[in-house]
Amino acid sequence: MPTSDEVFEKVQETLVDALGVDDDEVTRAATLVGDLGAESIDFLDIVFRLEKNFDIKIPRGELFPENIAAADTDFVQDGVVTEKGISELRERMPHADVESFAADPKVENIQELFTVDMICKFLESKLAE
Protein backbone atom coordinates (compact mmCIF):
# COMPACT_ATOMS: atom_id res chain seq x y z
CA MET A 1 0.00 0.00 0.00
CA PRO A 2 1.60 3.29 -1.06
CA THR A 3 1.46 6.19 1.37
CA SER A 4 -0.71 9.20 0.74
CA ASP A 5 2.36 11.19 -0.37
CA GLU A 6 3.43 8.46 -2.77
CA VAL A 7 -0.02 8.43 -4.32
CA PHE A 8 0.07 12.22 -4.68
CA GLU A 9 3.51 12.16 -6.32
CA LYS A 10 2.37 9.59 -8.85
CA VAL A 11 -0.81 11.54 -9.57
CA GLN A 12 1.32 14.63 -10.03
CA GLU A 13 3.51 12.83 -12.56
CA THR A 14 0.43 11.52 -14.36
CA LEU A 15 -1.09 14.99 -14.68
CA VAL A 16 2.20 16.53 -15.81
CA ASP A 17 2.27 13.97 -18.65
CA ALA A 18 -1.41 14.20 -19.51
CA LEU A 19 -1.87 17.96 -19.35
CA GLY A 20 1.59 19.29 -20.09
CA VAL A 21 1.65 21.35 -16.89
CA ASP A 22 4.57 21.94 -14.53
CA ASP A 23 4.73 19.76 -11.43
CA ASP A 24 4.51 22.77 -9.09
CA GLU A 25 1.14 23.66 -10.63
CA VAL A 26 -0.24 20.29 -9.57
CA THR A 27 -1.14 21.01 -5.95
CA ARG A 28 -3.72 19.01 -4.05
CA ALA A 29 -6.19 21.87 -4.20
CA ALA A 30 -5.76 22.50 -7.94
CA THR A 31 -8.88 22.00 -10.04
CA LEU A 32 -8.41 20.02 -13.24
CA VAL A 33 -10.37 22.32 -15.52
CA GLY A 34 -9.92 25.74 -13.91
CA ASP A 35 -6.32 25.53 -12.71
CA LEU A 36 -4.77 22.87 -14.93
CA GLY A 37 -6.66 23.59 -18.15
CA ALA A 38 -8.04 20.09 -18.69
CA GLU A 39 -10.56 19.61 -21.49
CA SER A 40 -13.12 16.85 -21.81
CA ILE A 41 -10.89 14.47 -23.73
CA ASP A 42 -8.12 14.89 -21.14
CA PHE A 43 -10.30 13.08 -18.61
CA LEU A 44 -10.14 9.98 -20.77
CA ASP A 45 -6.36 10.36 -21.08
CA ILE A 46 -6.00 10.80 -17.31
CA VAL A 47 -8.00 7.64 -16.58
CA PHE A 48 -5.90 5.63 -19.08
CA ARG A 49 -2.67 6.85 -17.48
CA LEU A 50 -3.82 6.34 -13.88
CA GLU A 51 -4.76 2.75 -14.68
CA LYS A 52 -1.36 2.14 -16.18
CA ASN A 53 0.64 3.95 -13.49
CA PHE A 54 -1.24 2.40 -10.56
CA ASP A 55 -1.90 -0.95 -12.22
CA ILE A 56 -5.62 -0.83 -11.42
CA LYS A 57 -8.89 -0.86 -13.36
CA ILE A 58 -11.10 2.18 -13.14
CA PRO A 59 -14.60 1.37 -14.40
CA ARG A 60 -16.03 3.99 -16.69
CA GLY A 61 -17.70 6.87 -14.88
CA GLU A 62 -16.36 5.85 -11.49
CA LEU A 63 -13.68 8.52 -11.13
CA PHE A 64 -15.25 11.12 -13.40
CA PRO A 65 -19.03 10.62 -13.48
CA GLU A 66 -20.49 11.60 -16.82
CA ASN A 67 -23.39 13.94 -17.44
CA ILE A 68 -24.59 14.25 -13.88
CA ALA A 69 -26.39 17.49 -14.62
CA ALA A 70 -28.18 16.01 -17.61
CA ALA A 71 -28.96 12.67 -16.00
CA ASP A 72 -32.18 13.74 -14.33
CA THR A 73 -34.21 16.89 -14.85
CA ASP A 74 -34.80 17.07 -11.08
CA PHE A 75 -31.09 17.56 -10.44
CA VAL A 76 -30.88 21.08 -11.83
CA GLN A 77 -33.28 24.00 -11.70
CA ASP A 78 -32.52 27.44 -13.13
CA GLY A 79 -28.83 26.67 -13.41
CA VAL A 80 -28.57 25.58 -9.79
CA VAL A 81 -28.09 22.02 -8.57
CA THR A 82 -31.03 20.99 -6.38
CA GLU A 83 -30.91 19.21 -3.02
CA LYS A 84 -31.66 15.99 -4.88
CA GLY A 85 -28.79 16.65 -7.28
CA ILE A 86 -26.42 17.38 -4.42
CA SER A 87 -27.25 14.12 -2.68
CA GLU A 88 -26.64 12.35 -6.01
CA LEU A 89 -23.22 14.05 -6.16
CA ARG A 90 -22.46 12.95 -2.59
CA GLU A 91 -23.21 9.38 -3.60
CA ARG A 92 -21.48 9.36 -6.97
CA MET A 93 -18.44 11.38 -5.90
CA PRO A 94 -17.68 10.36 -2.32
CA HIS A 95 -14.08 11.56 -2.70
CA ALA A 96 -14.96 15.09 -3.75
CA ASP A 97 -15.58 18.06 -1.54
CA VAL A 98 -19.33 18.20 -2.18
CA GLU A 99 -19.94 20.23 0.99
CA SER A 100 -18.00 23.26 -0.30
CA PHE A 101 -19.84 22.96 -3.59
CA ALA A 102 -23.20 22.86 -1.78
CA ALA A 103 -22.53 26.38 -0.47
CA ASP A 104 -22.78 27.73 -4.04
CA PRO A 105 -24.29 24.94 -6.13
CA LYS A 106 -24.29 26.59 -9.54
CA VAL A 107 -24.08 24.08 -12.38
CA GLU A 108 -20.88 25.63 -13.70
CA ASN A 109 -19.25 25.03 -10.32
CA ILE A 110 -19.60 21.25 -10.69
CA GLN A 111 -16.25 21.13 -12.45
CA GLU A 112 -14.59 22.49 -9.31
CA LEU A 113 -15.33 19.14 -7.67
CA PHE A 114 -12.68 17.61 -9.93
CA THR A 115 -9.52 18.38 -7.99
CA VAL A 116 -6.15 16.70 -7.66
CA ASP A 117 -7.09 15.84 -4.10
CA MET A 118 -10.25 14.08 -5.27
CA ILE A 119 -8.19 11.87 -7.59
CA CYS A 120 -5.75 11.06 -4.74
CA LYS A 121 -8.55 10.14 -2.34
CA PHE A 122 -10.24 8.04 -4.98
CA LEU A 123 -7.02 6.14 -5.66
CA GLU A 124 -6.24 5.63 -1.98
CA SER A 125 -9.61 4.00 -1.41
CA LYS A 126 -9.26 2.02 -4.63
CA LEU A 127 -5.83 0.73 -3.65
CA ALA A 128 -7.10 -0.24 -0.20
CA GLU A 129 -9.77 -2.52 -1.68
Partner: protein, 173 residues
Protein backbone atom coordinates in the same frame (compact mmCIF):
# COMPACT_ATOMS: atom_id res chain seq x y z
CA UNK B 1 -7.14 15.12 -53.55
CA UNK B 2 -8.18 12.40 -51.14
CA UNK B 3 -7.56 12.43 -47.43
CA UNK B 4 -5.20 9.46 -47.46
CA UNK B 5 -2.00 10.20 -45.59
CA UNK B 6 -0.49 6.76 -45.90
CA UNK B 7 0.11 5.03 -49.22
CA UNK B 8 0.32 1.45 -48.11
CA UNK B 9 0.77 -0.78 -45.09
CA UNK B 10 3.97 -2.81 -44.89
CA UNK B 11 3.17 -4.80 -41.80
CA UNK B 12 -0.01 -5.35 -39.87
CA UNK B 13 -0.32 -7.41 -36.76
CA UNK B 14 -3.91 -7.28 -35.58
CA UNK B 15 -4.37 -5.51 -32.24
CA UNK B 16 -0.65 -4.97 -31.79
CA UNK B 17 1.42 -3.26 -34.42
CA UNK B 18 1.35 -1.67 -37.85
CA UNK B 19 3.85 -0.17 -40.22
CA UNK B 20 2.86 2.03 -43.13
CA UNK B 21 4.63 4.18 -45.70
CA UNK B 22 3.99 7.64 -47.01
CA UNK B 23 5.85 8.70 -50.11
CA UNK B 24 6.32 12.45 -50.03
CA UNK B 25 5.73 14.06 -53.41
CA UNK B 26 6.26 17.49 -54.90
CA UNK B 27 2.91 16.98 -56.65
CA UNK B 28 1.14 17.69 -53.37
CA UNK B 29 -0.15 21.25 -53.54
CA UNK B 30 0.69 22.31 -50.02
CA UNK B 31 4.38 21.58 -50.63
CA UNK B 32 4.57 24.74 -52.74
CA UNK B 33 3.48 26.94 -49.87
CA UNK B 34 5.15 24.96 -47.13
CA UNK B 35 7.57 26.51 -47.73
CA UNK B 36 8.31 28.45 -50.92
CA UNK B 37 11.79 27.35 -51.94
CA UNK B 38 11.99 24.76 -49.18
CA UNK B 39 9.40 22.03 -49.50
CA UNK B 40 8.86 20.02 -46.33
CA UNK B 41 5.94 17.85 -45.31
CA UNK B 42 3.92 19.72 -42.64
CA UNK B 43 4.24 18.15 -39.21
CA UNK B 44 0.47 18.19 -38.81
CA UNK B 45 0.14 15.89 -41.82
CA UNK B 46 2.79 13.56 -40.45
CA UNK B 47 0.64 13.37 -37.32
CA UNK B 48 -2.39 12.67 -39.52
CA UNK B 49 -0.53 9.84 -41.27
CA UNK B 50 0.50 8.33 -37.97
CA UNK B 51 -3.08 8.73 -36.73
CA UNK B 52 -4.48 6.99 -39.82
CA UNK B 53 -2.03 4.13 -39.31
CA UNK B 54 -2.88 3.90 -35.61
CA UNK B 55 -6.58 4.54 -36.09
CA UNK B 56 -6.91 1.68 -38.55
CA UNK B 57 -4.87 -0.53 -36.21
CA UNK B 58 -7.23 0.28 -33.32
CA UNK B 59 -10.38 0.10 -35.48
CA UNK B 60 -9.48 -3.26 -36.97
CA UNK B 61 -8.98 -4.72 -33.49
CA UNK B 62 -12.76 -4.53 -32.97
CA UNK B 63 -13.73 -5.32 -36.57
CA UNK B 64 -14.41 -1.59 -37.10
CA UNK B 65 -17.24 -1.72 -34.59
CA UNK B 66 -16.43 1.78 -33.30
CA UNK B 67 -15.99 5.21 -34.79
CA UNK B 68 -12.34 5.94 -34.10
CA UNK B 69 -11.38 9.59 -33.93
CA UNK B 70 -8.09 11.26 -33.15
CA UNK B 71 -8.79 12.76 -29.75
CA UNK B 72 -5.50 14.11 -28.53
CA UNK B 73 -1.80 14.23 -29.24
CA UNK B 74 -0.30 14.13 -25.74
CA UNK B 75 3.26 14.09 -27.05
CA UNK B 76 4.88 14.48 -30.47
CA UNK B 77 8.48 15.48 -31.01
CA UNK B 78 9.92 16.39 -34.38
CA UNK B 79 13.60 15.70 -34.87
CA UNK B 80 13.96 16.21 -38.57
CA UNK B 81 11.86 16.76 -41.70
CA UNK B 82 10.64 14.92 -44.75
CA UNK B 83 11.10 16.37 -48.24
CA UNK B 84 9.76 15.41 -51.68
CA UNK B 85 11.26 12.05 -52.65
CA UNK B 86 11.50 10.87 -49.07
CA UNK B 87 9.67 7.78 -47.91
CA UNK B 88 8.28 8.15 -44.42
CA UNK B 89 7.81 4.92 -42.52
CA UNK B 90 5.27 5.10 -39.69
CA UNK B 91 5.62 2.40 -37.03
CA UNK B 92 2.77 2.29 -34.58
CA UNK B 93 2.29 0.13 -31.50
CA UNK B 94 -1.08 -0.18 -29.81
CA UNK B 95 -0.42 0.42 -26.12
CA UNK B 96 -3.99 0.54 -24.85
CA UNK B 97 -7.33 -0.46 -26.33
CA UNK B 98 -10.65 -0.45 -24.56
CA UNK B 99 -14.31 0.40 -24.85
CA UNK B 100 -13.77 4.18 -24.75
CA UNK B 101 -10.78 4.37 -27.09
CA UNK B 102 -7.09 3.59 -27.19
CA UNK B 103 -3.55 4.90 -27.37
CA UNK B 104 -0.59 4.28 -29.64
CA UNK B 105 3.13 4.96 -29.48
CA UNK B 106 4.60 5.84 -32.83
CA UNK B 107 7.73 6.76 -34.74
CA UNK B 108 8.26 8.20 -38.21
CA UNK B 109 11.52 7.47 -39.98
CA UNK B 110 13.05 8.35 -43.34
CA UNK B 111 15.62 5.61 -43.79
CA UNK B 112 17.41 5.47 -40.46
CA UNK B 113 16.74 9.13 -39.73
CA UNK B 114 14.17 9.71 -36.99
CA UNK B 115 11.69 12.38 -38.10
CA UNK B 116 9.06 12.26 -35.37
CA UNK B 117 8.08 10.24 -32.33
CA UNK B 118 5.15 10.49 -29.97
CA UNK B 119 1.90 9.28 -28.67
CA UNK B 120 -1.68 9.59 -29.91
CA UNK B 121 -4.91 9.09 -28.03
CA UNK B 122 -8.02 7.95 -29.90
CA UNK B 123 -11.59 8.05 -28.70
CA UNK B 124 -14.49 5.92 -29.84
CA UNK B 125 -16.85 8.72 -30.80
CA UNK B 126 -19.87 6.44 -30.59
CA UNK B 127 -19.06 5.83 -26.92
CA UNK B 128 -18.59 9.48 -26.04
CA UNK B 129 -22.18 10.60 -26.32
CA UNK B 130 -21.08 12.66 -29.31
CA UNK B 131 -23.78 13.78 -31.68
CA UNK B 132 -23.12 11.91 -34.88
CA UNK B 133 -25.36 11.50 -37.88
CA UNK B 134 -27.30 8.24 -37.60
CA UNK B 135 -25.93 7.10 -40.93
CA UNK B 136 -22.31 7.54 -39.87
CA UNK B 137 -20.85 4.11 -39.54
CA UNK B 138 -17.13 3.38 -39.42
CA UNK B 139 -17.57 0.07 -41.17
CA UNK B 140 -19.36 1.70 -44.07
CA UNK B 141 -16.83 4.46 -44.14
CA UNK B 142 -13.94 2.02 -44.38
CA UNK B 143 -15.59 0.12 -47.22
CA UNK B 144 -17.14 3.00 -49.14
CA UNK B 145 -13.93 4.97 -49.19
CA UNK B 146 -12.01 1.95 -50.40
CA UNK B 147 -9.78 2.38 -47.39
CA UNK B 148 -9.37 -1.34 -46.90
CA UNK B 149 -7.19 -1.50 -49.99
CA UNK B 150 -4.36 0.20 -48.19
CA UNK B 151 -4.43 -2.64 -45.71
CA UNK B 152 -3.20 -5.04 -48.36
CA UNK B 153 0.15 -5.96 -47.00
CA UNK B 154 3.10 -7.49 -48.74
CA UNK B 155 2.72 -6.34 -52.33
CA UNK B 156 6.26 -5.10 -52.51
CA UNK B 157 7.73 -8.01 -50.61
CA UNK B 158 7.25 -11.55 -51.84
CA UNK B 159 4.21 -10.50 -53.85
CA UNK B 160 1.72 -12.28 -51.62
CA UNK B 161 -1.25 -10.10 -50.86
CA UNK B 162 -2.51 -10.60 -47.36
CA UNK B 163 -5.68 -8.78 -46.34
CA UNK B 164 -5.34 -7.75 -42.74
CA UNK B 165 -8.99 -7.69 -41.63
CA UNK B 166 -10.69 -10.98 -42.34
CA UNK B 167 -13.26 -11.21 -45.10
CA UNK B 168 -15.99 -12.03 -42.60
CA UNK B 169 -16.27 -8.28 -42.02
CA UNK B 170 -18.77 -7.52 -44.73
CA UNK B 171 -20.05 -4.09 -45.62
CA UNK B 172 -23.37 -3.37 -43.98
CA UNK B 173 -25.04 -1.54 -46.82
Amino acid sequence: MRWFWVDRFLEFESGAYAKAVKNVSLAEDHMHDHFPGFAVMPGSLIIEGIAQTGGILLGESTGFAHIVVLAKVPRMRFHSWACPGDTLVYSVTLTDARQEGGTVEATAYVGDRLVAEGEILFAHADQMGAELPATFDQRNFMFDAGLLDILEVGRAGDGTVEMAPSSEVSPAS
